[in-house]
Amino acid sequence: MDHVLFVTGNPGPALGVLQSLIQDGDTFSAVAIGGDKLDDMLKTCTSAGASGIYRLMDEGFMGSDTWALARIYAAFVGKYSPDAETFIFARHSSAMPMLAHLIRAQQFCYVTEIVRDAEGIVATQDYGDERRICRVPRGSVISLKDDLQIPFERKSARTPDVKILGREDIELAERSVGFCGSRVLAREVC
């Protein structure tokens, strides 16, 4: 797979970005962590051209904080897509910069536009008080600006099954994620 889309919210704008980025022969996969409520969003990704859709679900993932979530994403990347050109989050999440650190990649947050030129990929970031255009190295992690409105085209009517991967499928140790692997714990509701 050449691109990986991590579905952390409405995947629509990210699908629009990917469709403009993908060249002939490129593929992308969509990945989400959670229960079967996410299947509809993942199937939307298939209709927009995703070659594979994965849902990461395991009892051992329960209670994961952002650190543990980032470890789950990183384990997926290491096992299934170590050579992807980009890893795109549909919106900013704290797990995204943590994943970028874990896979030793550069991170590009609040991205409003991604284009391809002769030398590779160029991203425009919007920090509110500053717009910045950067060259995106291979293997970078990108998150899109939250209020982005980019339409996508439905290309395929096929709806392949969602592949469900558990902790052992992505080779995570038993107590590395979930409650046991989390760094932050909710202690009480005040």
Binding site: D65, T66, W67, A70, H92, S94, A95, M96, P97, M98, A100, H101, L102, Q106, Q107, F108, C109, Y110, V122, Y127, G128, D129, R132, I133, C134, R135, P137, S182, R183, V184, L185, A186, R187, E188, V189, C190
Partner: protein
Amino acid sequence: MGGCDGCASSGSCPSYSSGDSCSTGSCGGEKKLPPGMLENYNTNQSTADGTLVFIEVSDKKGVQAIEPVSKQLLGKASEMGGGRIFGVIFGGPERKELYKEAFSYGVDTLYHVRDPRLSTFHPEAYAESIAAVCERIIPAVVLFGSTPRGAELAPRAAASMGTGIVTDCSDLAIEGRMLSMFRVSEGKKVRYECVTFPQVATVKEGVFPSPAAQEGRGGTAFYWQYGGNGFKQTL
């Protein structure tokens, strides 16, 4: 009778026969402390102490200023009283003009990661530097403003230090070294704790009041050299 039940059964404690209290630690009773040691210390607990605040600087039309949220975090850190307050600031020599202002809002020790290239935000380089500074000072708490840059930097810095993060806190409280981080989730106020050090939190601007500057307050500033290559190629 000195010693303890363990001494009585084994006869190993020299204090037993003399009638003094047991002080050798050789017996299996309640007192196991070596001679001269009055209290049992927990050597497994962290020695982390103090609070590090990421001091975000805005550069608007060539005028640099400390972001209000950074001042508010410094005020809260002072109010909580969790030990020494450290600040970390990034940029070239022009940042020196902000030292006095940082000290006036409560910074005791300021680390200036001095590189003109870092006047622009590079999250990878910033996170690496913060992790390196934290390795030196071992703070118990690291605070970031929940601005677009702070929200991008804080999780990466936390991951660099192998610790967790609570974002957009609505309140903070410290007891000893342990930080309670409060966050409103689905209408309920939830208290979080980080099980690793340092404990990293982000707070939005306006959650805490802006403190009054203490004019003339001094502090110590250190230059910090960034030797990495975490710069983005901007076009």
